[in-house]
């Protein structure tokens, strides 16, 4: 009898130890007390404005730690500066993976910078998640299963505008202003694909500009002079502000489509003068922090409280903070879902099986989801038009794929 009881007890104990050992699995970067998350970001140089994203993400992780961490583990977020220079990105990533021993790489910014390391991270099987870039190449689970971006796909967004023009202004003469880098060129390509056979006949002029150009006046003159009555701007904030001002000042009144990254009330429309942006059409996936319609929204209030407490010095006009908050929230959700199985493979699996998550600062209805064949997290956008004070919906959600 005693022997049986002992035997049973031993068996139970063995089972318990065995399953306990099976429950907690760690890859380098994870332990009982912490999860190490690595990132390189442009904190210096020409793209330094994006450093704000990294800072807000760090603040979010601090908040999570203050609230007890993820499944009892503290998040150790190591973010290095790469100055938007690919060689520095390579250095930083190798240091993060080989010396700092991070579990995963998160939220890295830029196409060229991420391109420099994607072969390395896929070879070493490091999750390379929620990248801040909308280039189409990042959602290719066949070839790069470890890399996943979290941003509306540029080319697809451009196709939304193309379709809208074909539907509502089939006889339009289109002038395009685009930034001369992979951001602008990706948009341009998608736009032309969206117009299909009619691209050649509808596009009357294309003008590019460099980020370092002092003004875009010359390009606007060129586009107007070509007879365009629809202006499509694939630009970032500064050029967008100058464009709005210049278009208004010259008395030109085209229908103006603007890339969503530059369609911000506080950072772009207010400096230019909000009355100059009336009628601007764009797409949106998240709540514009300077749009008064969200003033009493619970999620907005929560975001604002977070910013006031954890990043009081931040400039709330920038779109970076809403994005960073949502992205960090998603990352924490993925880690939480990984439970005690903090292997790189499991984290990736969780990231590739997100089921219809409605992030609080995203527009109601824009859900985030992924599957092992489809890494494109943001699948729909809401076309919007600006009325001088707020964004109004322009029709229904559009699926961008």
């Amino acid at each position: 009898m005693k022997k049986l009881a002992l035997g049973l007890a031993a068996a139970v104990l063995a089972l318990a130890c065995g399953s306990a050992a099976a429950q907690k699995k760690y890859d380098p970067g994870a332990s009982d007390t912490e999860i190490r998350i690595g990132q390189t970001m442009a904190y210096s140089g020409a793209a330094s404005i994006y450093g704000e994203v990294g800072k807000t993400q760090a603040a979010y992780f601090r908040m999570v730690n203050d609230q007890g961490g993820v499944n009892g583990r503290k998040l150790n977020f190591i973010s290095l500066d790469d100055g938007y220079s690919p060689p520095k990105t390579v250095e930083g990533v190798r240091r993060l993976v080989e010396q700092e021993q991070v579990l995963l790489l998160y939220g890295m910014f830029g196409t060229a910078t991420n391109s420099a390391v994607h072969r390395y991270v896929n070879a070493k099987k490091i999750p390379h998640l929620l990248l801040l870039t909308g280039a189409s190449k990042w959602n290719d689970p066949q070839r790069n299963p470890w890399s996943m971006s979290f941003y509306p796909d540029y080319a697809s967004e451009a196709r939304v505008y193309a379709r809208h023009i074909l539907e509502h202004k089939p006889n339009a003469k289109i002038g395009i202003l685009y930034q001369n880098d992979d951001y602008g060129r990706d948009y341009l390509r998608g736009f032309k694909e969206g117009l299909g056979a009619r691209a050649k006949s509808m596009i009357v002029a294309e003008a590019s500009y460099e980020v370092s150009d002092p003004t875009v006046d010359s390009q606007i003159v060129q586009l107007r002079g070509a007879g365009a009555d629809v202006l499509v701007s694939f630009s970032t904030a500064k050029a967008a502000i100058q464009t709005l001002r210049r278009v208004h000042d010259t008395g030109w009144k085209p229908t103006h489509y603007l890339a969503q990254g530059a369609a911000l009330i506080g950072a772009v429309f207010n400096p230019a003068g909000p009355e100059k942006a009336i009628g601007v059409i764009s797409t949106a996936y998240s709540k514009d922090p300077n749009d008064t319609q969200w003033e009493n929204d619970a999620a907005f209030r929560e975001w604002l409280a977070f910013m006031k407490k954890y990043r009081p010095e931040a400039d709330l006009r920038l779109g970076s903070h809403v994005y960073a908050y949502s992205s960090a929230r998603l990352m924490v959700d993925i880690l939480r879902a990984s439970g005690d199985n903090l292997t790189r493979e499991n984290v990736l699996r969780q990231a590739a099986s997100i089921k219809a998550v409605q992030l609080p600062m995203f527009l109601p209805g824009v859900v985030v989801s992924s599957s092992p064949d489809d890494y494109r997290l943001i699948k729909s956008l809401q076309p919007v038009v600006f009325d001088g004070k707020r964004w109004n919906r322009l029709g229904e959600f559009v699926s961008i794929f």
């Binding site: 904190y43 140089g45 220079s85 190798r94």
Partner: protein, 317 residues
């Protein structure tokens, strides 16, 4: 004689032992230091020994890097074969640039090379060259494999490869400077009129200096492309040219060792600056630079020389 060789041999021994003592990513960083040292060798030669200021050497670095990348990616050349091509292209373009530069002195040359450095990324992104250069997306390269089945990993092999190339180039430039060419180069810097009066062909010396300098920096660029395995226009902005100049000055301009000290500075100081202030690393970088220029114009190499003199002088009877 043996006494003088001893420190050199010692250093070489350390350099060879490093890759076995350090972890992989540190070997990678050390290899980057070597590529910068080669690039700075060129800049030191031009600006330190020959007195021609260049704020645009990033352009030659980019030239070498893209030469290596394009040949490897589109023509399937093995990585080591791209070096002579980069050297040739860099040398010729440097020589060609040196010809109009003959008429530019001091600050004007700085201005012209500054414009070159600023224009480089835009040129690299040019639509017309896109099929070759990959445009803004850049080119991804394959990592070189360890040949002959040597018992090294890829990072270690690259380190020794770059070390060998660097040693060869340093030796070549050292020999060049030791001979009459070297005397002429320095003479043209210090007193061009007297040099001309003594029969030195100033124009030839200056364009030669430009050509050799561009050759070295170009090879440095090619090596860095092979080590980083990626080239894109964003890697070669005006900040790169400024960084190279900073490295040259901090390392010590009129000395070949200065190139090594400068490379160490460029590689490791930004990380230190980042610790001090995440938001303004370049500000700290610039401040260090000003302090060094004001207090120690001969740079690190000058400081080392100073120390050596003090110790060696004491040990003599």
């Amino acid at each position: 004689m043996q006494r003088r060789l001893f420190p050199a041999v010692f250093l070489v021994a350390i350099a060879c032992a490093l890759p076995f003592a350090l972890p992989s990513y540190a070997v990678f960083e050390a290899t980057l230091v070597i590529t910068y040292a080669v690039a700075l060798l060129g800049l030191n030669l031009l600006t330190g020994f020959n007195g021609q200021i260049s704020l645009g050497h990033g352009a030659f670095f980019a030239l070498g890097a893209y030469t290596a990348a394009v040949l490897m990616e589109h023509a399937g050349w093995p990585y080591w074969a791209t070096l002579p091509a980069a050297a040739l292209l860099g040398g010729s373009l440097g020589w060609l640039f040196g010809r109009p530069a003959l008429k530019l002195d001091g600050v004007y040359l700085a201005l012209a090379t500054f414009a070159l450095g600023v224009a480089t990324p835009q040129l690299l992104k040019y639509k017309g060259l896109e099929t070759w250069t990959g445009g803004s997306q850049g080119l991804v390269l394959m990592k070189p494999e360890v040949p002959f089945g040597l018992p090294l990993d890829a990072d270690q092999w690259l380190y020794f490869f770059c070390l060998a190339v660097a040693a060869a180039l340093f030796a070549a430039v050292h020999n060049l400077l030791r001979g009459s060419v070297g005397l002429n180069v320095v003479a043209v810097r210090d007193h061009p009129i007297a040099a001309a009066a003594m029969g030195v062909d100033n124009a030839r010396i200056k364009t030669l200096a430009f050509g050799v300098s561009a050759l070295c920096t170009s090879v440095g660029g090619a090596l860095s492309a092979i080590v980083v395995q990626f080239v894109a226009p964003d890697s070669f902005s005006i900040f790169l040219s400024i960084t190279l100049l900073v490295g040259a000055v901090v390392g010590g301009l009129s000395s070949l060792q200065g190139a090594v000290y400068g490379a160490l500075f460029i590689q490791f100081v930004p990380r230190v600056a980042e610790q001090v202030s995440k938001s303004a690393p370049w500000a700290v970088y610039g401040a260090i630079l000003i302090v060094l220029v004001l207090l120690w114009p001969t740079g690190a190499a000058g400081g080392v020389r100073h120390l050596k003199l003090r110790f060696l002088a004491r040990s003599k009877p």
